[in-house]
Symmetry: C2
Subunit: 151 residues, 2 copies
């Protein structure tokens, strides 16, 4: 009875970030990666991951090439600039950064709900964190054995 899901990021977004970080780890090696490999390396369902990667492509976060020798990657000149915020925005849009914590539609800075001010502080810090963190930075930790992307 009444089990509520409670995660900061949606599952979709979790996969998206993991995928982007993995792609970054391979793109620094100038490797393109197939959907199959991404799904395997981040332990995600392949078909679903396909949809997520498509969104990242449409959002300009990653690029894709069809055919044999094709695959997904982050462009070399973009690598240093792709942030977690871009990934989240491409997948979920900016709702996470603007929506009322209590789910109230007319809540905003001018007409705030009672939790607004305190909530905004946290939400802004989350956004700052995501904006100032690059996927390639996170991928480096994996190389150093200070992190992993699969279960």
């Amino acid at each position: 009875m009444l089990k509520a899901q409670v995660t900061l990021f949606s599952k979709t977004c979790e996969y998206g970030i993991r995928a982007a970080v993995y792609l970054a780890s391979q793109s620094v090696l100038s490797r393109k990666v197939s959907l199959k490999e991404v799904a395997k390396e981040i332990d995600s369902p392949e078909a679903y991951t396909s949809k997520i990667l498509q969104k990242l492509v449409k959002g300009g976060v990653i690029v894709s090439e069809k055919g044999p020798t094709g695959g997904f990657s982050i462009e070399a000149n973009q690598l240093a600039y792709v942030t977690l915020e871009q990934v989240v925005l491409a997948i979920d849009g900016n709702e996470l950064f603007v929506k009322c914590g209590l789910g109230l539609k007319q809540c905003n800075d001018k007409a705030p709900c009672p939790m607004h001010v305190k909530f905004k502080v946290i939400r802004d810090e989350l956004q700052d964190m995501l904006r100032s963190t690059t996927v390639v930075e996170l991928s480096k930790r994996i190389d150093e054995g200070l992190g992993f992307l699969k279960n």
Copy 2:
């Protein structure tokens, strides 16, 4: 295609917080409130709100009395101590405060995912905010016209 829900709190939790804040606003006036009134005042589905209030009762956050003149309330001697954290814990448990941001099961302080350290900072700040915010404090803002609980 691929629409992801992206909210910090589950809908259930949003209703729960709004309900608790409304109950606080009335409990300072020594008023007990019926389910119907709660649902009306926080603009939530009545039957569903019933389940949520039951959880808050079981979690010891609020109390209930049956029969005519019955209703829900926060005990007078508890009013100053009921925090948003307690409400969230009663409804969703502590997952929000412990789960990996990337959804990785074995991620923890000792064996962190690449996002762990930065994520933990935000998550802890969120928990601190919830722990240091009482529902009665938020209810005061409504009285002062500095907030609302319904759409």
